[in-house]
């Protein structure tokens, strides 16, 4: 392999095998280059690698002064803030283990993780998070000290165990003076085999599990990703996904520490799209739903544009969908087509990329859920190199990645560098890589049942290698079931097909050990609401809209189309949807219906809406239901509705299941 600055930095004869060592190296090599930015008071504030290092050093010493020991855990709770990322690094400098938590978790969910991980120290972003920690601390908790970033509203909080990050840093600078070699020695003691971080997986069933990852796991995987895609220290990323999620840790932290590129923190959650546009990231990750949302926004706004603009847009988009992806993949295209594409780039594609904040994108990833082929093609035809990858927390993300020029919407690509992938007899995907996690924290049984002695990890996903050598994932292995007549039933596969329609937000499919497939649908309030407005349909809110006959007609078309599609599949042809309903309530993570990463918890939903499921498997046209809901502040209320049920059109399967 050709030598690159990244490689010499990261592999450097095993010298730079921990995050603190990488950090100190950046301070030496590119000390004046921007490491982090944050938009504050309307202005992008920047920290160079040298400044970041100084801040982290002060914070690490401050933590040490508070009694933080090697091996202690540091909980990190809040939005993507530079200070919280610095907290992560500070813990690692002391040989401690950062444990980022989902910031929108309620206190009770946090209590489990804090307790399970034996957390003594925590860094919280603001009053909201501090309040949760105080609540947890009252019950029972091992928390000894809480540091916070934003003091607002806490002027009157007078607790000896609560102080600001700044106070800790001031104390840390003093500590550093009186213990001159402490920091360097502390960093020196670390090695690649040490635990770098613990990430709790949201878990579709049971309590979350703490995935323990070593420095080697994280750093080698991050570096392999950088090498495969040819990333450099000039990349710009926007950190906006939850810090507790492995993807954010890889893209906004680990890879930045390895390659030395810049991480940008948005002003707050609501300004991400504006901030994205101002920064113009070159390297970007987003789950499919964000790409979907952006596309929906564009389409909605185009409908309000003038006739001329609409004509231009549709003409050039049609052209792009013909030749755009070929041009992106560097394939041969007729010169005239190329010229028209270039004109389109000037008139439509360029401005559109700019509006989306994707003008400078060199590499965009998506993962987590299947992405709709049309959505995927839309971005690629605009010249945005968006690729799918396949991974999980246990592998520090990378298992498979789509190689440049070989991007297909229905597969997740070929194994990443140093990753081996195989399919076992049950169709489950297994992998082995340097990123394979150390263990699940304090649960050797779970570790043993997921990871074999020689390092192979069960993904829990069912899939196979397509003829072109790319991995194709169908569903969760345990979710793939059978209808009573023996037809294979892949719920996720059906759900995803429906979710590709912009009017449909969530779907829950039932069918395992049943006579036929039936589904719950959540409509997309924005898209359907807009559609309703255009037709002068009045509605008062989600429940009202979801129960209207016109909306049912709209959804009926989508369901029928999916059935037609399914009928063409030799294996799934007979698992067509027979009955469906539009749920009266939006599925919500606060009610436990979705995981924090927005995956549906099918069995929980089936239990909660048992009367509706029963109604789907009878022939009643309507069903009354009352549901308990939880508001964001923790109060509960009841929601009652009459939900209509409809039958879908059936198509005769083209090929019978053999």
């Amino acid at each position: 392999m050709s030598p690159s600055p990244v490689q010499s930095d990261a592999s450097g004869d095993g010298q730079l095998d921990t995050f603190p060592k990488l950090l100190l190296n950046h301070a030496r090599v590119r000390g004046s280059k921007i490491a982090m930015r944050e938009k504050d008071l309307g202005i992008w504030q920047a920290w160079t690698w040298q400044q970041v290092t100084d801040e982290i050093r002060a914070l690490a010493c401050g933590l040490a002064a508070l009694g933080f020991q090697r091996g202690d855990k540091l909980a990190i709770i809040g939005d993507n803030r530079p200070r919280l990322y610095m907290g992560m690094a500070a813990a690692q400098c002391l040989g401690g283990i950062p444990v980022p938590l989902y910031q929108d978790s309620i206190a009770q969910e946090m209590a489990f993780v804090l307790d399970n991980a034996e957390v003594h120290f925590a860094i919280a972003e603001d009053q909201e998070q501090v309040d949760k920690l105080l609540e947890i601390r009252e019950e029972n908790s091992t928390i000894q000290h809480i540091l916070f970033d934003d003091p607002r509203g806490m002027r009157h909080y007078d607790f000896p165990f609560l102080s600001s990050i700044e106070t800790a840093q001031t104390a840390g600078r003093e500590y550093d003076k009186t213990h001159p070699d402490f920091f360097e020695q502390s960093v020196e003691q670390g090695s690649g085999a040490d635990i770098a971080i613990m990430l709790y997986t949201s878990g579709t069933t049971g309590n979350p599990k703490g995935v323990v990852l070593t420095n080697d796991n994280v750093i080698i995987t991050a570096r392999n990703g950088i090498i495969r895609e040819g990333l450099t220290d000039k990349e710009e990323v926007v950190a906006y996904l939850p810090m507790a999620w492995v993807g954010d840790n890889l893209f906004s932290y680990a890879q930045s520490f390895v390659a030395g590129f810049t991480v940008n923190c948005p002003e707050n959650g609501a300004t991400v799209m504006t901030d994205l546009r101002e920064i113009g990231p070159t390297y970007y990750f987003a789950p499919p739903r964000i790409y979907e949302n952006m596309l929906t926004q564009v389409m909605i706004r185009m409908e309000d544009a003038s006739k001329l603009k609409q004509r231009l847009f549709h003409y050039f988009m049609a052209h792009a969908s013909r030749v755009g992806t070929q041009i992106l993949d560097g394939k041969e295209v007729r010169t005239s087509e190329k010229l028209i594409y270039r004109l389109g780039d000037f008139m439509v594609y360029g401005p559109l990329r700019n509006v989306l904040g994707l003008s400078r994108i060199r590499l965009a990833y998506t993962a987590g859920e299947a992405i709709g082929p049309e959505i995927f093609e839309f971005y690629r035809s605009l010249g945005i190199n968006i690729k799918q990858l396949y991974g999980q927390t246990e592998s520090m993300v990378f298992i498979c990645v789509q190689p440049d020029g070989e991007v297909y919407p229905d597969t997740v690509g070929t194994p990443a560098i140093d990753v081996e992938v195989k399919i076992d007899d049950n169709g489950e995907v297994l992998y082995r890589s340097p990123g394979v996690f150390h263990s699940y924290y304090k649960s050797p049984e779970a570790t043993a049942s997921t990871k074999t002695e020689d390092g192979w990890v069960f993904t829990g996903d069912a899939g196979y290698f397509a003829e072109n050598g790319h991995l194709k994932i169908i569903d969760r292995a345990k979710d793939v079931g059978k209808l009573n007549d023996g037809t294979m039933f892949a719920p996720k596969y059906i759900e995803n097909k429906l979710k590709f329609f912009s009017f449909i937000k969530e779907v829950v499919a039932f069918g395992d050990a049943c006579d036929y497939t039936s589904i719950f649908i959540n409509i997309d309030l924005e898209a359907v609401g807009n559609w309703a407005e255009r037709r002068n349909l009045a509605y008062s809110g989600y429940i009202d809209l979801a129960s209207q006959d016109e909306v049912y007609d709209l959804i009926q078309d989508c369901v029928d189309k999916v059935n037609e599609d399914l009928s063409k599949d030799p294996r799934l042809g007979k698992s067509q949807i027979k009955r469906y309903l539009i749920l009266h309530k939006e599925l919500d993570a606060d009610d436990g219906e979705l995981t924090r990463t927005r995956k549906v918890r099918r069995s929980f939903i089936a239990e909660r809406y048992q009367p509706l499921v029963d109604a789907l498997y009878s022939d009643v046209p309507e069903c009354h239901i009352e549901t308990q809901v939880k508001f964001e502040d923790g109060r509960t209320g009841t929601l009652a509705a009459d939900v209509k049920i409809r039958n879908a059109k059936q198509y005769s399967p083209i090929a019978k299941a053999s």
Partner: protein, 261 residues
């Protein structure tokens, strides 16, 4: 709870009466406001609450009585004097510049603080430029405080009602007032929006030490937020005291719940 930091009397009205023709809107009203407190005026529709605020900031001129503010006693306030001396307000019906952005609307709240003359401003040079940067900083601080970064550049006409209320509060704050008059800041809001607004009122009072005079219909909100409450009914002063005192006052109960005749 923590100790509230309430100081001396800053504003005192004595025997205020206001009539429009034969219509007596306020009848012999007297009360005072202490530094740093949240003082509420409640009462049924048409009780004279908004009129009282209008008297305080000089919009209406009472026929009788005196207003003492900052040690100066006078028979009426003048609108521009009130503003210059640190009294800012929001309105029951939103009075923003609909076509201007959130940022620009709040910037107008800085109007009285601008020292540069019109010529300097026109060429945006020297003092005017330095000033503008200072003011923008203040305004950004308010935007951050009210958590409205995402609508910074949005024309306020396009914002939902609750957000417009928040922008209006932002504009009043931009004047760095000593006394903030809030006329039904929570009218027409849902529970969540009311909670947000209540939090902002408390935070403003706490962080900036601003004295707040609040008119509000929602009893729950008033009783939770206020240090002292005045009750008006048909221009008469029914009661004045702590929320608990007011709540248990028979006259107030009668006015609100009706009384058997």
């Amino acid at each position: 709870m923590y100790e509230r930091n309430i100081g001396e009397v800053v504003l005192e009205v004595k025997n205020i009466s206001l009539s429009f023709g034969a219509m007596r809107v306020l009848n012999n009203i007297s009360f005072n406001v202490r530094q740093g407190e949240i003082r509420s005026i409640i009462g049924p529709n048409g009780a004279g609450k908004s009129s009282m605020l209008n008297v305080l900031n000089g919009f209406y001129h009472p026929q009788e009585g005196t207003i003492t503010y900052r040690g100066e006693t006078r028979s009426q306030m003048k609108v521009h004097k009130a503003a210059e001396q640190g009294i800012a307000r929001t309105f029951q019906n939103i009075a923003l510049f609909k076509g201007m952005s959130t940022l620009d609307n709040i910037m107008t709240g800085r109007n009285l603080k601008i020292k540069a003359n019109i010529l300097q401003q026109a060429i945006y040079w020297g003092k005017a430029q330095r000033e503008e940067i200072e003011h923008r900083k203040k305004v950004e601080g308010i935007i951050d405080f009210l958590e409205i970064q995402a609508i910074r550049k949005t024309p306020v006409g396009r914002l939902p009602y609750g957000m417009q209320k928040r922008v209006e509060l932002g504009r009043a704050l931009a004047a760095e007032p000593e006394i903030l008059l809030l006329d039904e800041p929570m009218a027409g809001m849902n529970v969540e929006e009311k909670e947000d607004m209540s939090r902002f009122v408390l935070d403003i009072n706490d962080e900036f030490g601003t004295t707040i005079i609040l008119i509000e219909h929602d009893m729950g909100v008033v009783m939770d937020l206020s240090d002292r409450v005045i009750v008006l009914d048909y221009g008469l002063q029914l009661a004045d005291g702590s929320p608990d005192e007011v709540r248990s006052n028979q006259k107030v109960i009668d006015a609100y719940l009706g009384v058997a005749h």
